[in-house]
Each structure stands twice: as C-alpha cells, then as structure tokens.
Symmetry: C2
Subunit: 205 residues, 2 copies
DNA sequence: TTAGATTTGTTAAAAATTTAACAGCTATTT
DNA sequence: AAATAGCTGTTAAATTTTTAACAAATCTAA
C-alpha cells in the first residue's frame, strides 16, 4: 500500500477507538456520517481515509465495524504489539498507566522507571516500577521499543541519549523541554499548555 | 491584523516557551535557526511566523527575546488572563495543576471540581477543590471561561452540557470520549493513545 | 418496474501549510 | 572601501490536506 498521509494515520487511531465504543453498544454497522459526527470531522474525510486503507463498506448499510477494527489493526499495530516503558512515575506517568490499563490494544506498557525509592519495586496497576539504573537491562529483557518520558524536564535530554544508546525506536516526550531529534528515533511531543493556549486564543477571538 | 493560521497560533505558544527558556539562560537575542533547532522545525517557518505576527528582528543579531515574548503575549493572551477550571482531581487533573503551578502565564487555574469527598475542600498546590454542585456558582464568582475535563469518560458529555449552560467559552477535553461540538464553545481534544499509536506506526515503518 | 432517496467510492478542485528562492541589509574582513 | 558572509523578510512555488462533486450501486415505495 502507498504510504498513508500522516493525518490519516492519526485519524485511524481515533476511528478504531470510536468503532470499539460503538461495537460495545451492540452496533454492527456504521455510516461514514455517523463516524464523522462522533469525531466532528466530515463524512467525506472519513470515506476518503477508508478508501486509502483499501476498505469498502456496503452501500446503504455502511461499514462493518468489526472488519474495520480488524483492518485498522493490521495497519497501525505491529504483529507482536509495541512494548512501552513509562519513565517517571509521577502524576502524569500514573495517569498514563491508568489510562492504558484494561484497554485492549496492541500497545502495552510493560515497565515503569523512576529514581525515587518510594516508587521503586512496587506495581501500579500491574506495571512494575524499576530503578532507572536497570533501564538498559529491562529494555532488552522486555523488548521495549517505545518510551514515554514523564520525568522532570531537566533530565529529559540526557535520558533521551541514554534511551537511544539502548536502542529505543520511538519517544513520546511529555516534558515541556523539546528534545532534539535523534537519528533513527521517531519523536513525538505534546504540551498541554499549547492546547490550552490554543483554546484561549480562539475563545478570545 | 489578519487572522493567523491555526498552525501559527500553536507554534507561537511553543516559541514563547522556548524563548522563556533561553531568556532564563541569559540570552537576549536569538536567530531563527536557533529557535528552529530547539523546536525541530525549519528556520523559514520560524521567520514566516514571525513575519505574520508583524515582528522584525535585527539583521545579523536576530530577534530580541524579551520583545518577542512580550508581543506573543499581546497576541495569544487575553488582557485579564484566562481563568480556568479543572474538573476531575485525579492523576491527570493533578498533573495539570502541578504543571501550571509556578508557570507565569496568563492562563490561570483558579478552581478544581470533583465529586469524591476525599478530594473536596482541600487545596492542591494552591488550587482549591470544590464539590461539583458548586460549579455554576464558582464559575460566575471566579469568572471562569475555560474548563479542562479530566473526569471518567462517562460523565464528560453531560458535564459539557452543564458547562455550556453555565456560559463556558472553551473546553479542553482529555477524556477519551470525543464530545460533540456545542454552539459558541471552542472545543479541543487530545488523546495520548493517538500520539502513542502514531509513534508506534512510524517506529514500525 | 420506475422513480426517488441514500450512501459509497473516486476523481478533481480548493484551501491550508510548508518549503524554496532570493533580494536586501549589516557587520566583518581584507 | 570592496568583497564576503550571515541573516532577515517576502513573494512564489510545491506539497499536503481538506472539501466538493458526482457517478454508480442498492434499497424503498409507489
Ligand atoms: N506536556 C504536558 O502537557 C505536561 C503536562 C503535565 C506535566 N508535564 C510534565 O511532565 C513531567 C511529569 O509531571 P508530573 O506531574 O508527573 O510530575 P511528578 O513530579 O509528579 O513526577 C515526576 C516523577 O519523575 C521521577 N523522576 C525524577 N527524576 C527522574 C529520573 N532521572 N528518571 C526517572 N524518573 C525520575 C520522580 O521521582 C517523579 O516520580 C514534568 O516534566 C511536567 O512538567 C507535562
Ligand atoms: N486523553 C488522554 O490522553 C488521557 C490520558 C490519561 C487519562 N485520560 C482520561 O482522563 C480521565 C482522568 O484520568 P485519571 O487518571 O486522572 O483518572 P482518575 O480516576 O485518577 O481521576 C478521575 C477523577 O474524576 C473524579 N470524578 C468522577 N466523577 C466526577 C464528576 N462527575 N465530576 C467531577 N469529577 C468527577 C474522580 O473522583 C477522580 O478524582 C479519564 O477519563 C481517563 O480516561 C485521558
């Protein structure tokens, strides 16, 4: 398949979440305009994305929810699933773990790391927290390929170096200190203040 | 000034954050390529954004950091600042409050709301937590115009109705249940799983 | 069975965003 | 003081993303 547009990849993830919700409600089929309403985008965009991933619905019946969830899975999931570490077991780290807990997705948080003795060698919702010293060892042992950084901002950059050294493939940085890109490591960042300021700007205007 | 592109508004917030960091390090001027490196975007984009907000740097000296911070403030801040409520004082709500604490921005979290007696009538980092019953009353009293929803997903939608009724102007929804847009209320949503799945996808390919 | 209403799938057009190109200014060097 | 190098500001081009347009398929109901 041709490389999908970035924006489509982002939306696939949202489609799947929405589809799972609907499936749980007992629906088996769904129309493009229904998906669109749930995600406040346009039906055309939904259909176009679905076209791009090579799926087809049934005329006047819509899309088969299970099939589509399945297919999206084959596109955005890896076969064995992605194994993830959370670094920094503070509020944010815990919110993450809590959020992922019980979500049946191929993304699995398999370890947490911290430096605070109060947090180490305990489990939070089935995720065991190790001392940061064990990072390299556990990363290999658990085949971790993605890390979420939720530490204080000062340590983010050296941590990213260390992660790269240990073979990390992707980093999701929630620290407000943007990281410089590292060869071979996919980097994604998010800042709540940016989201908030955007809301504030558009509220004002 | 002409309406700024959405993407530019988002970046302005990031510029300011970066500029504040640099100012704190004692720098007074900065080049477009320096900003670009720190945020891993291109220098052209930085210059273009700066042009759009009508600021000018000095040739061969770059941009005056303080002036630019000031100017960005006049664009994305409101005069009196935006007064914000966090609803749901769990991990995520606390992470938010902790993050905003001591950040000198015009965005101010002035109240939190919850329904759990353990959380109510206590302060967390100077933010007082009220019972949700007091929502309307406190919203008026504290002139709250933006709400961050960090409750369990089930309550998000009725909550949004209630917020709208009480005159909210913007909602930042961190619940994984997308809200339908409400007339006159600017809505922004974010899902960590989407970010994660994006990382996972690009790590795989 | 024909007309009408829906809804998909696809191509084309439009809009938004990013990137490139380059002219012009300023400091520095020779 | 002339040449050079470093950066900015701006217009134009390229790319990406969204929206529109519409043919084709399927069901409903007259
Ligand atoms: N991007 C955003 O939108 C956003 C939102 C909230 C918080 N944040 C940021 O996320 C980070 C975490 O926020 P929080 O509220 O969870 O803070 P927190 O203080 O509750 O948690 C930080 C945790 O990191 C641990 N830690 C410290 N140094 C470490 C190291 N070297 N290695 C591993 N762990 C280490 C601490 O022991 C603590 O458990 C902060 O940098 C904060 O600024 C970002
Ligand atoms: N979008 C994301 O990226 C992301 C990430 C993490 C968590 N989440 C979501 O954010 C929400 C909060 O996560 P968390 O880890 O903080 O959960 P949490 O359980 O720690 O916190 C939820 C809080 O909301 C309170 N609450 C319950 N009902 C309420 C109501 N009607 N009004 C006000 N408060 C109420 C609870 O008492 C609790 O304090 C959840 O919906 C979770 O799924 C989203």
């Amino acid at each position: 398949m041709k490389r999908l547009p970035d924006k489509t990849v982002e939306r696939l993830s949202q489609y799947r979440r929405t589809l799972n919700n609907q499936l749980a409600k007992g629906k088996t089929h769904i129309f493009s305009h229904e998906i669109a309403n749930l995600l406040h985008i346009t039906p055309v965009q939904v259909r176009r994305d679905i076209m791009l991933i090579g799926y087809s619905g049934t005329l006047r019946k819509g899309y088969d929810i299970s099939e589509m969830i399945e297919l999206i899975g084959t596109i955005i999931d890896t076969d064995q699933g992605v194994r993830i570490a959370v670094i920094g077991m503070g509020n944010l780290g815990k919110a993450f773990i809590h959020y992922m807990y019980e979500k049946r997705t191929k993304l699995k948080i398999v370890a947490a790391f911290d430096v605070n003795p109060d947090k180490i060698d305990k489990s939070y919702e089935d995720v065991y927290c190790y001392h940061l010293d064990k990072l390299e060892e556990i990363m290999i042992e658990k085949e971790i390929s993605v890390a979420i950084i939720a530490t204080p901002p000062e340590v983010a950059s050296p941590l990213a170096d260390r992660l790269k050294e240990a073979g990390i493939r992707g980093i999701l940085n929630y620290t407000p200190r943007p990281l410089s890109p590292r060869e071979g490591v996919y980097l994604e960042e998010h800042d709540m203040i940016t989201s908030l300021e955007k809301v504030a700007y558009f509220v004002k205007n």
